[in-house]
């Protein structure tokens, strides 16, 4: 009887301690458990429609500041990550990592080539939102916002989102990795007219 009682007490304490430790470390394990570092697939051919398809597969997934890996379960598998820590290893891209992968850019900033990374490749790319806004990198160039069409982007100093479709009221539906509380999805936004946003276009779409 005494043995059983002590077994039970020890089990509960060990379970709680181990569980707490695992929970604390859980968010650092998502990328480690699910993502890869495979070489990208170079391709000579990308379309705006193809990039929208790549982006749509990220809908309803998570957000991770500094991140660039997600799956296709339509849920955020690491909700509640600390918002300002890029090292928590949670699911999802951040806004600029998402744009980099959807636009299928390369790590070589002097190149306009296309690299398919696929969603489970953990990569953020070299650009922040500010750098996209500046149209840094050979693959990115500035665009008048009034000329922006689907898969062009609006970028501010802190955020970037890509056009999915324009609404009758003149807003745009933007596909974007918005934040830890939001994840990655399509939302209606009024970025086009807002002067903190600049237009950016990926160079070299195979067709408009």
């Amino acid at each position: 009887m005494q043995y059983a009682r002590r077994f039970l007490v020890a089990f509960v304490v060990a379970f709680a301690l181990a569980g707490a430790g695992t929970a604390g470390a859980y968010h650092t394990q998502w990328v480690a458990n699910n993502c890869n570092y495979a070489a990208p697939t170079p391709t000579s051919y990308i379309t705006r429609d193809g990039s929208i398809t790549v982006a749509l597969y990220a809908r309803h997934e998570g957000y991770q500041w500094g991140g660039g890996c997600w799956n296709d379960t339509d849920v955020d598998d690491s909700p509640g990550d600390p918002k300002s820590d890029p090292n928590t290893g949670g699911e999802g891209p951040d806004c600029s990592g998402f744009t980099f992968k959807v636009w299928r850019e390369t790590l070589d900033e002097t190149s306009t080539a296309f690299h398919q990374w696929w969603r489970l490749r953990n990569i953020h790319g070299p650009y922040t939102a500010q750098r996209f806004k500046n149209a840094d990198g050979a693959a990115n160039y500035p665009l008048s916002k009034s000329a922006a069409i689907k898969m062009d982007a609006y970028a501010s100093a802190t955020h970037i989102g890509m056009i999915y479709v324009t609404n009758p009221d003149g807003t745009d539906q933007i596909i974007e990795a918005l934040g830890e509380s939001y994840g990655t999805n399509v939302w209606t936004r009024a970025y086009r007219g807002n002067s903190i946003f600049s237009g950016v276009r990926r160079l070299g779409w195979t067709q408009s």
Binding site: F7, A18, T47, D49, T53, N71, K83, G170
Partner: protein, 459 residues
């Protein structure tokens, strides 16, 4: 018979060791099972269609319906989309029989662009036409209907007819009107009279995500970061009304009975929700929203929500009872319902905004506003007397302001510009409200938020 005896001390130690080991092993096994569960499942195929509906047309417009369709067996086949067949069903007015029109794929073999040419007999009908599209992929066994209500709730396209044309010319930036009165203001913060600011690594600061003006003239701001309303009456310090909300760029409208409708565009795990509260903040109901919502307004029977991809207004509650998702879709409408069976319809394309007040027999009055300076979103379009008040954003690549236009049967009877005052982000179309003859603007600076009132008539 030999009896194995152990000392009490050994028994205690063995119990503790075994229990600890079992606890740790259980956690490890559970963790491994969880890790395996979240490993990537098989990829799902997708089929999505988007469409900018020609809600208001002129005789010169090409009567074409254009769709972008995205079909894929998997992400890795994004550039080799699956074959899709498209059909559009269109009819004169709202009661004729639908006529099937083939939607032709254009733009090459890999493009997902479809165009359906509407026959003259339908496209030029004086009562307009209604239509919906069905895209089918046999490879993926998926079907996309747009708008989602199909034949029961088609999209409606109306001829502008004898519209009133207004040419804004080139916008003169820097001549903003001063407010008649600042009716509310709050510094950023978490104190009882302050408004919260939500900030993330990628976010513009979000604060005071929406506002409305109550029937008694109170200004009510949705302080989503602090999960409450701030209510100002007669310029006093605000009263805080706690709300059970999750924020996430929520829009808000207040009914004539004081009920508060909060539209959470993300809510939990991406599911948008409409939450209804009593004036004192007591939660009344929470209901799901069918599609991607962008704004909630008060219709004659209750709250209505503008939703995409259908690009239609859907009734979210009727006489206080929540409307289910299927019923939202099957009763959707192209225009925002107003009292007396009327609707207001807007369409912004390029540097042009079309606005129409629509009755049961069609367009009652319509305006076509053109501008040399690009126009972005229409922030507000509300009936006003025999006309409408229209607020639209005028922009260049590095400047923007709001243009306020009072339109009636004579044309543009009043026009002024307002500073965009949008340091903090709000829900996308939550910056203006019209109450009586006063226009209210929710603005913000790095110091805090404010609501300014602009009187449209001399008092």
């Amino acid at each position: 018979m030999n009896e194995i005896r152990t000392s009490p001390k050994l028994s205690r130690t063995a119990g503790l060791l075994a229990g600890s080991l079992a606890g740790v092993v259980t956690v490890v096994l559970a963790g491994t099972a969880l890790a395996n569960r979240i490993v990537q499942p098989d990829e799902q195929p997708l089929l999505e269609a988007t469409h900018l509906p020609p809600l208001l047309t002129t005789r010169d417009d090409r009567k074409e319906l254009r769709y972008d369709v995205y079909c894929a067996r998997s992400e890795t086949q994004a550039e080799t989309p699956c074959a899709v067949e498209g059909r559009v069903f269109a009819r004169v007015g709202e009661t004729d029989a639908y006529q099937e029109i083939e939607a032709h794929r254009v733009g090459g073999a890999t493009g997902g662009r479809f165009v359906a040419v509407v026959p003259e007999s339908i496209g030029r009908a004086s009562s307009g036409f209604t239509y919906y599209a069905v895209f089918r992929s046999d490879e993926t066994d998926l079907v996309a209907t747009l708008p989602a209500g199909g034949a029961a709730a088609p999209q409606r396209s109306l001829p502008l007819g004898r519209r009133i044309e207004v040419d804004l010319g080139a916008h003169n930036f820097g001549s903003e009107l001063e407010a008649s009165e600042r009716v509310a203001q709050a510094a950023w913060g978490t104190g009882p009279t302050e408004a919260g600011l939500e900030q993330g690594r990628n976010l513009m600061p979000i604060g005071g995500s929406a506002f409305d003006v109550d029937a008694d003239g109170s200004v009510v701001v949705l302080d989503e970061a602090n999960k409450r309303l701030l209510r100002w009456r007669d310029g006093d310090m605000p009263a805080a009304v706690p709300l059970s909300i999750n924020g996430t760029l929520a829009d808000m409208s207040i009914g004539e009975d004081g009920a508060v409708y909060v539209l959470e565009t993300t809510a939990v795990q991406g599911q948008p929700l409409l939450k209804t509260f009593a004036r004192d903040g007591t939660a009344i109901s929470t209901s799901a929203v069918a599609e991607r919502p962008s704004q909630v307004r008060i219709g004659p029977e209750g709250p209505v929500v503008l939703q995409s991809s259908s690009a239609q207004w859907m009734s979210a509650a009727v006489d206080g009872r929540a409307v289910g998702v299927r019923a939202q879709i099957s009763t959707a409408e192209s225009g925002r319902p107003l009292s007396g069976g009327r609707k207001i319809v807007i369409l912004r394309q390029g540097n042009e905004v079309r606005v129409a007040l629509v009755g049961s027999t069609g367009v009652q009055r319509a305006w076509l506003v053109t501008s040399e300076t690009p126009l972005a979103e229409v922030q507000l379009a509300e009936p006003y007397g025999t006309g409408v008040v229209l607020v639209t954003r005028v922009f260049t690549d590095d400047r923007d302001e709001f243009a306020v236009l009072v339109l009636d049967r004579r044309g543009m009877v009043k026009r002024f510009s307002l500073d965009s005052a949008d340091w903090a982000e709000t829900a996308p179309l939550s910056r203006f409200r019209l109450r009586g003859s006063s226009l209210y603007q929710l603005g913000s600076t790095p110091a805090g938020l404010f609501v300014d009132r602009y009187d449209l008539e001399v008092k």
